[in-house]
Amino acid sequence: MSISVDIEKNLGDFRLQVNFTAENEVLALLGASGCGKSMTLKCIAGIEKPDKGRILLDGVTLFDSEKNINLTPQERHTGLLFQNYALFPNMTVKENIEAGARREKNLEKRKQIVGSIITNFGLQDLLTSYPHQLSGGEQQRVALARMLVSDPKILLLDEPFSALDSHLRFRLEQEVRDLIRSFGKSVILVSHDRDEVFRLSDKICVIHNGKVETIGTKKEVFANPKTRQAAVLTGCKNISPIDRISDQKVIALDWGIELELNEKIGEAKYVGMRMHDLCMDAGENTFDCQVVEIIENPFSYTIMLKAQADAQAFGWEVNKETWQQIASEKIKIGFPKGKIILLNE
């Protein structure tokens, strides 16, 4: 059981051209807003029509431009979840869920599946409420129930938590995580939040400007994002263009420092270093730096450092206790070889 997507679509100022597959797993499409990730989801759901390509779900062709196949959204059996949950405002909770079960033509059976989903999601007390009377968490539960009762073959989650406060987000994310684990089929999650993506997905596909930049398991993508944009999207904040000195030695131009590498430079044009990967006892690639700014976060400090007066600063994230012990204007900081990320454009 799997989904395979290979589509192209012209969108005026840019071209969407994505190609990926997913098995029974959670695939996250990670990208900045306007990169085409939501459009990709709409193409899978059948709301938007690609110009070219193919979409296969569990061996069924949903779309094929060459064979002129384009199933309607109703025929595709996808479960779409939007951040606003899109509950029908004129219907009660019960009517919303019943609307999701209308594919089942046998009325007895329909009643039965509606009844069991209501019990599973603990919605018994909300049945006569309207969506605007529900809390955010309740709305999400109703939306999930309505989606599942329609018997989807794949779940498509479009930025499901981005409208929520962080404390609520965490709780609702847990509910969704439980649900997609028990769902057992393909799930595609669209998000711009690297933390959420890391917690929820198995596989990550980084999209930038309508193109797939990097695809792989989440550990692979975070360890080796491959491109500069993918590094930015996975939260790498220190990135500098480089000049090659030798196969395993480069100058990081922005920071004005020479770095020794573990691997050969290859085609790389940039190096990246995650802020928390810098360390004081690296024993290699160490530099005497001037502290130029100290930014206080809730549980850590971000120390902005310069290795040379006329260079640009880079950030080092350090926990509060450690910093309070060191706290000085000059420190020696190291770029561990194993943590340096080589990146292409």
Binding site: R76, N84, A99, S135, R146, M147, D165
Partner: protein
Amino acid sequence: MDLFPLWNSIRIALISTVAVFFIGIWSAYHISKASKEIKGIMDVLLTLPLVLPPTVVGYLLLRILGPQRIVGEWFLTNFDFKLTMTWWSAVFATVVVIFPLMYRTARGAFESFDETLAYSAQSIGLSDTFVFWKIRMPYCRPGIIAGTILAFARALGEYGATSMIAGFTPGNTATIATHVYQLWRTNNDELAFQWVLVNMLISFVVLFALNLIESQYKSKNNVKGGV
């Protein structure tokens, strides 16, 4: 007091409003979904009657529906049916004049519709017909009702185009609006004033109903659940 103008005005306004209700919603729905270019052109064309002087609308209608003009002549020769200077002629004039009110309010309502509702509905298997009648229309209902009432109110007050295409025949084409003008012209000041009061009363009631619906809709939608 001969009540014919009141009855005639209401009859014309009701028929026109029913017609415009369907044509207006139909056009509004399709144009709200059309491409930018088509939307731009159609929007101007369909809103034009709102800004044109009613006499210009009346003139244009006469050029089309008059007994010696293309459509008017065809109806006259084929069906022996006169399109001008009858009470139903006023319906044509009124429909054209009130159409933009219905069209624009309905289009505004359709455009404010949250499309993710339709997408979700389609993906859970609900037919496009179901989506239109059970989700889109209820969502847009307040806007559509407001447009209908506004159109009806304007229909009752239509004078310029009506007087050109239907003229003033007491007991046949006379409406409140044309009747008031006729009474004033013939120095029947007292009766004219009575009709003015009748007209104001009707308009007051209609607009009051409109505000009531709007405030009800607002209070219903302000009840947002806390998180």
